[in-house]
Subunit: 359 residues, 4 copies
């Protein structure tokens, strides 16, 4: 288990889906930052299940408590303890699964690795684990915003084969993103996506999608070659999220088909600094931010838990037909939006602090 | 600068493209391993430039010397120092670039971050920096192979829009990969790819591509949730390579279009262990290896250095037309094959050692 | 702020003396360990204030809650969250000190470093910060004991100039240590020490002392040269405790006066293994445990808070006479005993897990 | 093996006593620092054996080469590779010891831990391993001196029972230290110490001693509570050195006998800042530098290799009489002076860079 991330702004998360609670410790947050639960709660609310008919109805308030590190509304420079209590500590929905590793879930590998696993839910492999990340990410984002003006906005750019069109990454805002249930800021695309999700839901199935994210106003100089390049830290952060299968920055996989003469981003004077005419690079050069917007995309697979019967085998190798009870998210991608933003913030703040050494 | 990777098998690289040399220290290699330069040289030879008319003719012998950590052909358990001398310590080809940041190179960001940069070549942002990684990766791979039977094979699966067909990741071998200049093990695809590279070369242009990689016989249990999941460590490792723009594992971005009922990998008894019928997961579940082959793909952008004139601006903001002198790789993807294998080995060995704690 | 310790068994502590609570996350604890609050509480009880007339009467129950990482009485291999609520969240005793940095306290340096500090108590520089360490250390100690039979026993070997005599480190037990208020297992010495503490208390003064510690049954092979040698990890662990001023292992400072012919520990066959006739080394050779008992001593300065008036200056540089209100520990050394044991356990468990790689 | 130290200024050392060479990589050194071998060589020369009749005559030039990270006399911000070739790669003096673990050496524990060990000398447990530390420390010291005016001076404060008197830590200089063979800046004490060493040498014996060190002009604010306190980092650094048995800061062990009223350091205005009247603390409060000189002492045991015959047993348990051939240092303490300074510099620079985040 390795539940800490970051060199200078270090986040350590804890908690299973069905225990007393989940949370995080943030070590390395600068002193003197105005901070209260109200700064953290909004992103937790955005990731919370039960926000629309598109998501699972498990409704948890997910109220965060700051345990330490803040006094009189200001950070002390000491570790910030964050705790969210679980509402349902031990449901009965999962009993059958004790003997059967759910396909494309982590039951099998946790059991193999640890010789045991949380008896229900999914323990640390549950999406609930991301609460600690989002709480910590909200703090990181606040510092990035207040100190450097960094704006991080993620949105759903595809669900299944339905792809969003016409989104301007220079302008897109969280208000626009939250204006649709699917969190696709293009209204027409959103309508198609939501229809698809409802169709999938009716079929007791699930569907994947892609979250895009832009980080604007990242100053040039963030990123630590050669192993902690900005894109490497983002890639680790994103692939550490449950259900992610891919990461690309700038031109990404599509860019591999271009020629250099077309792909290269020529420099040009932009106000007081150099910028680039195009941004196929996605905001980094040699692993260091260039001053252009950091643009990346994250692939999420379809949710593994589906209502349809599945043929599989138990831990004993005997065939079994598995049918998930209860109701589950047909598509996690809209709820993944604040989670992607949070992980981006955690990757950026750590590199921002490491860059401070050079200033 | 952050030139160390790994928690237990820790690699620290050093060296610019045009100084005394490049290399690495490997700390954490188990004692008693048979090791000599002959175990390391083959992968260095595979990454060396000048191997065919498809690559740059800069010919360097790139002979590795073991400075420490090995005695009488056996590792001591102490740090292994690895050094490759540079042949050309200071060429004159790069002078003009002092005043002009090359488009899509790291000149601009290094200069901005550090207030200075290597006066020629690219310093640490040069592909030459990967020599230390490959040397260290060869050691990692030897341990993985001898102790667990792990086989790592990478190949070129696309160059530009030319995509390889018909490659069986369960069987593909390095001999097959090396049988073509393009390192695409499908002969017909290789012919098309090589024609494309020659066309691009003639046009003084460059082209990108995708390297695929399979890691076979990875035992179940490797990977440290939640932040050091196997795919997260691979993603960081790959995106830390020069010119990479994307990473995907298993079904990757394409998998986002599938439904869960189609994407899920049902379990089945396979000999003494459970396996999965399909492998859309790409060999990990919940960030932990499942025992199925680990399958991933890495996107490489077109080489930034091209012979065509490029309109850009100097550090002073004044327009300039840049035209690269000398000859450069039109396509790095074939040479990236051993580099991808090396980084995969480094990611795996560290997680393998971390898993040993549980055994 | 750097509140994490350990490479594989990683402890992250949090909490101020007067906030919601203090605690720790333990990441890297093996799965399948029987664990409940009852395993942790005893050492917390031993460090708790108010146990005798020798210590401060601030009585806090200091009951620990396990927030995560344990299910059905067994560890899951996931992070173990530990929380102890504070009873007194904001006392009024400390108001005057806002303007005056207490001599030999951390008020001045925290204020200088962070530009702020906890308004009361001492925040993270308070002895209360050690609760997280002790809770985590109790888990470490349980593993060390159950898996390797390691026994860790610390005791008070001096208070002021009163030194303990006649303690056999091969046999001393915690029961013997706890049999006296001063935690000196030699009854006659204990009587003298306690008389001294009462005298000091009556004089509204404080006094320092030395805690000795033995770790028995440590197998040979623990310790990671060259920077994470066993004695280096112990030294860091001990000097990270509040009020510590020195560490010595084996012959320590006294050994510098000996000649090699007298100081060297000759080898001898001991049952199935080699041991040494003497143990001036204190159980390590070259930074690696030898199989002989690990023996070390830690110096604690006199408590900085005293009832006597002190001439000092405020943050504004103006002279002021400071007189501590309330009642404070005249001597922390007896309460430091379980804390030293806990830190020893944390240093050992991490090296034990790192050594597992070689087995 | 764990041969890396530091979080931001990270040193990784390598090399055995009898291989191709020893050295280090320094990762995290700021760019733009004037640096050449001439900045590093003086401290290497000070630690070199064969400087007087008091030390071993093994004469090695110990010339350092900078492999990378420096161009045109300025650091690039990239890893600095440092290499010192060994002169004697494989002497025959040590053959007998293959079967006999030398008393109070690391032969036994290396063999037990790694299942092998360097066949001669002592490999990584040799004093020669400190060359990489000293080379890296010289760079750290240069930054500390040029940027903050930090002065680090160590000296021999005792050899055996001969203790130095009359040394003013506010004024003592390296020139004064180097003025005597024993590196004790008090002439009268030095004479006595040197007589003792010659007596010990004639007796084919060895003797220990204490090195004191002062770090002047350390600004307030360096040190990262709670685990990376300044004194904790110094303690780890010093106890990671071969042959060290103890560390104390400020009043140290002697301070445990004082009462708080006597031990406390009252604040007083000193020019523009607050200082303390006395400095029993040794320059830190709560693990953070106070602005007062950092003062500490390190205990070195007598050298384990002696010319006298020693009764011990071989790895096979059979008794043997061991008699060291050749000539060895009777006392390492004078040569330890630059090594202690180097480790102090490495501990300080890392905390200095970590403090920069708060400025």
């Amino acid at each position: 288990m390795s539940s800490s991330l970051g060199t200078l702004f270090r986040v350590s998360t804890f908690g299973e889906s069905h225990g007393i609670g989940v949370g995080a410790i943030v070590d390395g947050c600068p002193a003197g930052l105005q901070l209260s639960e109200a700064d953290i709660q909004p992103q937790l609310d955005r990731r919370r299940p039960g926000q629309s008919d598109l998501t699972t109805p498990r409704e948890e308030a997910d109220r965060v408590t700051i345990l330490s590190g803040v006094e009189n509304g200001l950070t002390l420079g000491t570790p910030i303890g964050l705790l969210v209590h679980n509402k349902d500590q031990r449901p009965g929905d999962y009993d059958e699964m004790d003997q059967v590793p759910r396909p494309s879930h982590a039951d099998f590998t946790y059991q193999t690795k640890y010789g045991t696993r949380a008896s229900s839910g999914g323990g640390r492999s549950s999406a609930r684990e991301t609460i600690g990340r989002v709480a910590a990410g909200a703090i990181a984002e606040k510092i990035l915003r207040e100190r450097w003006g960094v704006e991080i906005v993620a949105w759903v750019s595809s669900i299944g084969a339905e792809k969003a069109a016409g989104i301007n990454s220079d302008l897109v805002s969280r208000a626009q993103v939250d204006a649709t249930l699917s969190r696709c800021p293009d209204q027409a695309s959103a309508v198609r996506m939501e229809a698809l999700v409802r169709e999938v839901l009716a079929a007791k199935d699930s569907i994947g999608g892609v979250v895009s994210c832009v980080c604007r106003n990242v100053p040039p100089g963030w990123g630590e070659p050669v192993f902690d390049k900005l894109e490497a830290m983002l890639a680790q952060a994103m692939l550490s999220l449950p259900a992610t299968k891919g990461f690309e920055i700038g031109s990404g996989f599509a860019g591999t088909e271009l020629r250099g003469s077309r792909h290269n981003d020529p420099f040009v004077q932009k106000g007081a600094r150099l910028g680039t005419v195009t941004n196929n690079a996605g905001g980094t050069l040699g692993g260091i931010s260039s001053g252009e917007p950091v643009l990346f995309r994250v692939a999420f697979k379809p949710v593994a838990t589906i209502g349809q019967p599945q043929q599989t085998v138990g831990f004993d190798g005997k065939p079994v037909t598995l049918e998930a009870k209860g109701r589950h998210d047909p598509c996690v991608v809209p709820r993944a939006v604040p989670i992607v933003e949070s992980m981006a913030a955690l990757a950026l703040i750590d590199l921002a602090l490491r860059q401070k050494l050079w200033e």
